[in-house]
């Protein structure tokens, strides 16, 4: 009797808890779906919420999605977003031993066979396809079951690395609606037969620098089009090219427009809009400008247009923007390198003054900004900063007065070669700072003529591989520059542009025939590090937007033909 009564009480309690749970779930669903007093959500709103779930792991109610990985590890959706594995395009990736399948509606709602049609013999695509099991097409219901329970429509359990997300019905529907929009329509600038690009050239750039930028890109396009023509004439003889590129890319022609921007930068946006309207392109390749790249960067963000490796000293420094991929942070990176180097001497510099003399040109300000933002992030107080207007020379008496007043342990001179006499005059000063730092790039050809007396205390930021080491890479670009004459600056641009050609050709071959803009950037983000001329290491990674991350601190050696001598690692820590 007692037992029966206990069982009845427990049973009632379980029923009550069950009812409460059901009520809570229903309430949750109602809130999430906006039912009740709230007006119904528009399709656009649903897609926005779906995108937020996919990219940020945040539910429509503002809370993080919840999930389990590896069977028993609870994780927050904001750490385990869909986008982190399936990528922004939803077209999946391979990283190490983990292969993630596409999650865009166009692919999910088709059955998956053993191999991708027409790509059976393309090694990269073949390997990717064979890593994924065959399955019937998903439906909305089976997709929801898969996201929540980790079982595909063939009844196969997915890898335990795939999070099992707890989502209510309304939130799940929004996520699935968003997946259906991912990479579903070819972007402008791509057709079955052609891929069209543009390169932006702004006013005031030296013609030889423009030619240096164009040379590798146009050579790449010309060679690619040569392959397409040969394939059209004799497809049987192009088997190797087909196997490397796939049957679509091998036959595709490429073209490049030149978009010249004239006048003041605040008029560029209108010019870019006009060009884009008349001449839609898949992506911007290279490009060159003397000033800030910001107007072009913003245009590309707004039009979701990839912009690869523009030649600019002044990129936009952002950890969130997506569409422009820079080869480095430009001048900013040298200031950053100086701050990192000085931070390695924190014991010596504690409580000491650092004096920063800044020429208020674009270059001087970018160097100072790079230094200051990095220096402050390390927790140091801001240095004493003295600004010099464009027409105010840094004379030895002026520098003497500043040093007498501030007595700095380190002097940073963010100026050009005109400051060298004042810096050299410090050799005779008994209480000169232990270290003077300048930008090697800002010194231009005068770098090799630093007075002997200053070489012992003058340290330089140098954001490239050292010239004596880079000669090993000359063979990479010999075929491009043979019979042509370039000065040091133009040669550097050829090398930067060559890196773009290497990057782009590799990325297109790995895109599995899916020529979507976000997937181009996703693919680059998953590419192995590259060892090319000019920079020690170009590395990518999801959301990394500056391929070269290092900067040496060097000194000029002794003698008439001095070499640069390393005083730091490439990546200073």
């Amino acid at each position: 009797m007692t037992n029966k009564s206990t069982i009845r009480r427990v049973s009632s309690a379980v029923s009550l808890v069950g009812l409460l749970l059901l009520a809570c779930m229903a309430a949750g669903a109602a809130t999430a779906s906006g039912a009740g007093s709230k007006p119904a959500m528009s399709h656009e709103e649903q897609l926005r919420y779906g995108e937020r779930m996919y990219r940020e792991g945040i539910l429509p109610n503002g809370k993080p999605m919840q999930a389990l990985v590896q069977g028993d590890v609870p994780v927050s959706g904001s750490s385990f977003t869909c986008v982190s594995c399936h990528l922004r395009s939803g077209l999946g990736a391979t990283e190490g031993t983990v292969v993630t399948p596409p999650t865009n509606g166009r692919v999910l709602f088709q059955p998956r066979g053993l191999l991708q049609k027409n790509f059976e013999m393309v090694p990269t695509v073949r390997k990717y396809s064979l890593s994924l099991p065959q399955r019937p097409a998903y439906t909305d219901e089976t997709l929801a079951e898969c996201i929540a329970g980790g079982v595909d429509p063939a009844g196969r359990e997915l890898s335990r690395t795939m999070p099992r997300y707890h989502l209510n019905e309304a939130d799940m529907a929004m996520l699935i609606a968003y997946l259906k929009t991912l990479s579903d329509r070819l972007p402008p600038g791509v057709s079955e037969t052609e891929m069209h690009f543009a390169t932006v050239i702004t006013d005031g750039v030296r013609p030889e620098d423009v030619q240096a930028m164009l040379l590798p890109i146009e050579t790449y396009i010309s060679k690619k089009n040569g392959i397409a023509s040969a394939f059209k004439r004799r497809p049987q003889s192009m088997r190797m090219a087909v196997n490397m590129m796939g049957p679509d890319l091998v036959a595709m022609k490429m073209s490049l427009s030149r978009w010249h921007l004239k006048g003041a930068p605040d008029t560029w946006r209108a010019q870019l809009e006009e060009y884009y309207k008349k001449d839609p392109v898949f992506a911007l390749l290279g490009g060159i400008g003397n000033g800030s790249w910001e107007p072009i960067h913003r245009f590309c963000e707004d039009h979701r247009l990839p912009d690869l490796f523009p030649v600019t000293d002044y990129p936009v420094i952002s950890s969130k923007d997506w569409y422009t991929l820079y080869i480095s942070k430009g001048v900013f990176q040298e200031g950053e390198g100086a701050a990192r180097y000085l931070n390695t001497m924190h014991e010596l510099l504690k409580g000491k003054t650092i004096l920063q003399v800044v020429r208020t040109t674009r270059r001087g300000k970018a160097l100072a900004t790079g230094f200051l933002s990095t220096w402050k992030a390390f927790g140091w107080p801001a240095p004493v900063t003295v600004e010099l207007s464009a027409d105010q020379p840094l004379t030895p008496p002026l520098l003497d007065r500043l040093l007498t007043k501030e007595k700095p342990a380190v002097l940073l001179v963010w100026d050009d070669a005109a400051a060298l006499p004042a810096v050299a005059a410090l050799a005779h000063r008994a209480d000169r700072p232990g270290m003077v730092v300048m930008s090697a790039v800002s010194l231009g050809p005068e770098l090799r003529h630093i007075p002997d007396a200053a070489r012992s205390y003058l340290y330089l930021t140098y954001p490239y591989r050292l010239p004596q080491d880079d000669v090993r890479y000359d063979s990479f670009i010999d075929f491009l520059i043979k019979g042509k004459s370039f000065d040091e600056q133009a040669l550097r641009i050829v090398k930067q542009s060559y890196a773009l050609g290497a990057l782009q050709s590799q990325a297109l071959m790995e895109m599995r025939g899916e020529y979507y803009r976000d997937f181009l950037l996703d693919t680059i983000g998953m590419m192995p590090d590259m060892d090319l001329p000019l920079y020690e290491r170009l590395s990518f990674g999801p959301n990394q937007r500056y391929a070269s991350k290092g900067c040496y601190i060097v000194q000029l050696g002794k003698g008439d033909k001095p070499e640069l001598v390393k005083r730091s690692d490439w990546a200073i820590r």
């Binding site: 385990f80 990736a93 990283e95 190490g96 931070n343 192995p528 590090d529 290491r537 999801p542």
Partner: protein, 192 residues
């Protein structure tokens, strides 16, 4: 006559040798387990606070050490490894102080102290979990010492290494695993 102590040592040595001969699939599991001896390089790395640390000194400790190789912008393998570390700390509660978790960056050019600090915050890491970076040369030396050299970060594999206090051998776990498996391996290694 052979002493019981000698026989015990012989048995342990034989077991180690058998394990060193090659990794074995952990029974019913998706990862491989092996017991290995490594010699650590004497390199100076930098942690998420920007503090320089002598790596060998960090390893030669009276705490259990668990090491993995990750990078800050990794999308697939590393978040799973790191969620495992975070969950391990939660499950161990106060005992997590006896364990030193060490994640070593395989993308040292990108993983600055700021990036690493942010990464650990994102996983709600507790004290006792350090993320280390350094020069490419030093990181390469550490990877090679663990027989885990990846020329590029995109070719990396999921690996965990466990060393019990005062032990001279490492348990090498090759593959992704849940927290239950990791804890059971730590117990097996005498590390919990």
């Amino acid at each position: 006559m052979l002493s019981a102590r000698f026989l015990r040592r012989l048995l342990v040595a034989s077991l180690v040798l058998i394990s060193v001969a090659g990794p074995v699939q952990a029974a019913g599991k998706n990862y491989q387990r092996s017991i290995v001896k490594y010699t650590m390089p004497d390199v100076v790395l930098v942690n998420q606070n920007g503090t320089k640390v002598r790596f060998r000194r960090l390893i030669e400790t009276d705490k259990t050490v668990v090491v993995d190789f990750i990078y800050g912008t990794c999308t697939t393998i590393c978040p799973v490894l790191s969620a495992g570390f975070a969950n391990l700390q939660r499950k161990l509660g106060a005992d997590s102080r006896k364990i030193h978790l060490i994640s070593i960056s395989i993308d040292p050019e990108h993983d600055t102290p700021q990036v690493m600090n942010e990464y650990l915050k994102n996983f709600r890491a507790r004290p006792g979990w350090d993320f280390l970076s350094g020069s490419r040369e030093d990181i390469d030396r550490v990877m090679k010492a663990f027989d885990a050299y990846f020329p590029t970060k995109m070719s990396h594999r999921p690996l965990d290494f466990i060393k019990a206090p005062s032990s001279s051998v490492w348990v090498r776990l090759d593959g992704l695993m849940g927290t239950g498996d990791l804890m059971s391996e730590m117990k097996k290694a005498g590390a919990l």
